[in-house]
Subunit: 204 residues, 2 copies
């Protein structure tokens, strides 16, 4: 499946879920409008699912959700760990969308001994030693990194050593990782700077 398509599938899923149960059927045109994409693009993307829309009608909304979830590997819940329980880590820990999206936060970890044991959204913050054990015990493959930039690489190395294969990195630091590990970087400064470019170009 093309990279560009993979990156749009969650968007379609989000659109379909947001529509609610009012519609049983959705056309590529309607979905395209909500998602802000060309309708041919939607059809081509969905064709990779081996999806079967009905000509003259559209796609069955619920069946399409199931197919999207299957294609994205969301049939079972992935266990994930969150490392670094500062403001951002706490914010993510409190996020209510993990479960419906297909993920299960199994633990929060921090290097600061004074935080260990503190409650956050039904969890108690655990130590880095426990992190390594938990990853191995629960076969965790995905980690969310919300440490300060300075600690990110060190933690990442440990995660990789423990068997983590996918990292979602919110720390403003570029990680050096083996290419067996997939990483997505979410960076506030980067996003704002991209907006800045278009904002500046507008007036120029």
């Amino acid at each position: 499946m093309p990279k560009a398509t993979v990156e749009r599938l969650p968007l379609y899923l989000q659109c379909l879920q947001a529509m609610g149960d009012s519609e049983t059927t959705v056309s590529s045109d309607v979905l395209a409008n909500i998602a802000g994409v060309n309708s041919a693009n939607v059809r081509k993307d969905l064709s990779y699912l081996g999806s079967h829309g009905v000509r003259g009608v559209g796609y069955d909304r619920l069946e399409l959700c199931v197919q999207l979830r299957r294609a994205l590997g969301l049939t079972d819940k992935w266990p994930v760990v969150i490392i670094g329980v500062g403001n951002l880590g706490s914010a993510l820990a409190n996020y209510q969308g993990f479960d419906p999206s297909g993920f299960n936060v199994i633990g929060l970890y921090d290097a600061d001994p004074s935080k260990i044991g503190d409650p956050v959204d039904g969890h108690r913050i655990k130590s880095m030693e426990e992190l390594e054990l938990d990853i191995k015990e629960h076969d965790v493959q995905m980690a969310i990194l919300t440490t300060p930039a300075g600690a990110a690489q060190e933690v990442a190395d440990m995660l990789v050593g423990a068997g983590i294969l996918s990292i979602l990195n919110f720390a403003p630091a570029l990680l050096k990782l083996p290419d067996t590990v997939k990483c997505r970087q979410v960076d506030l400064a980067t996003e704002l700077q991209i907006l800045s470019y278009y904002q500046a170009t507008r007036t120029a």
Copy 2:
């Protein structure tokens, strides 16, 4: 400038800044390695800056930083507002990277009357009425949206009405905006789901 290039410029800037003052000169090869990009790609990207690297030597690091910042429209600081001071909004308010990145948080706003006046990182949370006034008074063009999903569209409409032209949206909701307004969506569930796809494909 190509969209793909614009989205890489902040990355280069981040790499150059992270290098510190040890190097006065950088080759496309070195930068490419740190950024995880092909070196021809780096050179082509930088050629849009009207940059002048020196053959046989490379680029002057500091001059390149200046050129990148200029190209991204970061010569002056952009005033930005943050709307929705929950966990995530607080996390962003405490982020130390705004100033060096070229942004200046001028205010935090929340719809919840019980929060108004609370201190967060040197600011006091203000009301939505003040938001509208502040935007007009300071000519603010960029807003960061960290409200709950349910409130996002309503707030966005207000922002657009007040004159905001760029929105960085962390709320898990797709905004319907006039096409004069540029929006970037940062969505945790989406990012994890993309990782899920690659994680699942790995074993399949």
